[in-house]
Symmetry: C2
Subunit: 318 residues, 2 copies
Amino acid sequence: MTVSRVLRNRGDVSATTRERVLEAAKTLGYVPNKIAGALASQRVNLVGVIIPSFGNLVFPEVLAGISAGLEETGLQPVVGVTDYSPEKEETVLYEMLSWRPTGVIIAGLEHTDAARAMLENSAIPIVEIMDVDGAGIDSVVGISHQRAGRHMAEAILRAGYRKIGFLGTKMPDDHRARKRLAGFRAGLAEAGLTIADEEYYAGGSALAKGREMTETILARSPDLDFLYYSNDMIGSGGLLHCLDKGIDVPGQIGLAGFNGLPLLDGLPIKLATMDACRREIGIKAAEIIAGRPHSGVIGGELVELEPRLEPGDTIRKS
Amino acid sequence: MTVSRVLRNRGDVSATTRERVLEAAKTLGYVPNKIAGALASQRVNLVGVIIPSFGNLVFPEVLAGISAGLEETGLQPVVGVTDYSPEKEETVLYEMLSWRPTGVIIAGLEHTDAARAMLENSAIPIVEIMDVDGAGIDSVVGISHQRAGRHMAEAILRAGYRKIGFLGTKMPDDHRARKRLAGFRAGLAEAGLTIADEEYYAGGSALAKGREMTETILARSPDLDFLYYSNDMIGSGGLLHCLDKGIDVPGQIGLAGFNGLPLLDGLPIKLATMDACRREIGIKAAEIIAGRPHSGVIGGELVELEPRLEPGDTIRKS
DNA sequence: CCGATTTATGTTAGCGGTAACAGTTGAGGC
DNA sequence: GCCTCAACTGTTACCGCTAACATAAATCGG
C-alpha cells in the first residue's frame, strides 16, 4: 500500500520511506501494472480516438492536435482506424469501449445504429469531430462542410466564374466530402447554376491523380472556367497541369481545393482553399475530454469552427 | 462463466444457452471489461507503437503499415509520440509498458539507458524500426540510412556532379537524418570530395522551406552543381525554385531528396529520391509481433530492407 | 504529561473477469 | 443395467492493484 502511495504521489509518506521505495523500484526495474490499477480504481487514462484512415493527411494533423491537447493531462490517445467502413468502425469502437476509456473522440456524425447505441450507453464523454452538419451524440467539434461548400460556391460566383466543374473522390462513406459537394451545389443553385461537368476517382489523394483528372475533364468540357476539387492534393495536381499546359490561371480557369494543407505552400502559385481547422479540432476535442473529470454525460458542447477561405492566387479578384 | 465462454468462443456451450447469452448481452448493451479480462488472463491485445511525430509524413505511413499488418490478428496498436525527445520517449514507454502490451514497436535504435533497460526487462517482443545502423535490443526492421546516404553520393558522383551542397534539418535527435548525412559524406570522401556548402532549417518539412533554403544556398554558393536534401518535401520545394528561376535541372544543377513520397508524384519533373520502405517496415514489424505468440524473448529477427534509388528526372543520366 | 490531532503505515475487501477444476447430464458401448 | 466419456454448466481462487478504514507513531497546545 505504501508503495502504491509513493508511486502515485497520493497521501502522506515520509521522505525516507519514499526514497527507499523509489530506490527499490528502480533497482528492481518495477513497472506498475496499470491493468490492475485501472480495475481497482475504475480510472483509465486512455482516450479512444477513431479515424477513417492515416492515408488522408488530415487525420494525422488532427491526431497531432489531440496529442498536443492531451499533453500534461496524463491522458493517452489510443487510435483506431476504420478505413471508412461503418462496420469496421463498429468493431473498433466495441474494442475500445471494452477498455473503458476516459472518453472517445470519433470522426464524423454518421455511425451504425449499434455504434450509436454503444456510444450513448457508454456514460463517458464522447466528442464527434470534423463535422457539425447533423445531430451529435454528446459533444461535437468541427466545421460545417455544407456551409464550407456553399461559401466556396459564393466566392467563385462573386469572382465571375460560371461554367464550373467538380473533381472529387468516389468514396460513398466520405460524408464530409459529400456534404461539401451538396453545399456547393446549393450555392450554385441559388444563382440558378448547376455543376457543368464532374469527374471522380478512387484511391488516395495525390498530385498525379489531380493532373490526370484535370486533363480528362478539360478534354471533355473545354469550356469550363472553374474547377472545384474535393481536396488540396488533387487540386494542386490540377494546378500543375494547368500551368504545364500554359493555361492562364486564374484568368482563363480558376481553381480551388479544400483543406488548407500548409504542406503545399510553395507551389508556383498558391491554390485557393478553405482551412478545415484540423489541428484546432484536435486540440479542442482533447480539451473537452480532459475537462470533464468524472461528470456524467451532461450537456455536450457544440463547437463550430469557422473555416477560413484562403483565396490564394487561383481565383480572380472580384 | 458460461457467459465468458460464449463471448470468447471458447469451450463448449450449447446452442440454446449461447443464443440466450448473446440475446441478453445485446439487450443489456453489455460490453465486457477487457481490463478485468486482461488482468485475469494475463493477455493483452495491445501493441505499443512509439514514434517521434505525426508531423513527418513518414510515420503515418509506417502506422498505416502496422495497422495493416495487425489486421486480422486481433491486436490493436496504441500510439505514443515522443516529439524527438529522448526523455519523452522514456515517459511514453514507461506508460505503455505499464499496460503490459503484447509487444512494442519503437522508432530508432537510440534510447536512454533507462528506456533500454525497460525494454530489455519487459520480456515481450520489441521491434525497433526504421534504422538498422546500430545494435538492436530484440528485433530490428529498417533500412541502413548510412548506406542510403552513401549510395546516393555514389549515384551523384557517377553522374558527374562535383560541387555538392546539402540541405537538411537541424534536429540533433533525428538520428536517421544524421546517419544519412554521415554516409553521404563518407561516399563523397571516397572520391576525395567534401560537401561544398550546407544549409539547415528547423521546423516541419515543407515546400516553401525548401524554396527559401535553396535560394539562400545558391545565392551564397552559385557554383554548386548538386543539391542533396534530407527529405522529399524540401527537395521538391527546391526543385520548384529551380524551375521557377529557369535553372536547367538536371543539366546545370542536379537534385535529390529522400523518402520516396508517392504524394509528390505529379510535380513537373520527378525528384530523384530513395524509397524508405515505410509501409513495408510497418507491416513487417507488425508481423514479427503477431508471430510470436508467447515465446519468451528468444532471438530477435533482423530485417534489413533495401531502399531503392529512384533516379527520377533530376540526376543526369550517367 | 495528557488527550487531540496530524502524519505515517498497515489491513481488508473487492474491481470484473478467467484458469482450473468439479459437478451434472445424456448418449453410447458392451 | 452399468460404466465411460463427451458435452455442458458451475465453483473457487486468484490476477495486481486501490478505496476505505484501522492502527501506530509523532507533534502539540495547555
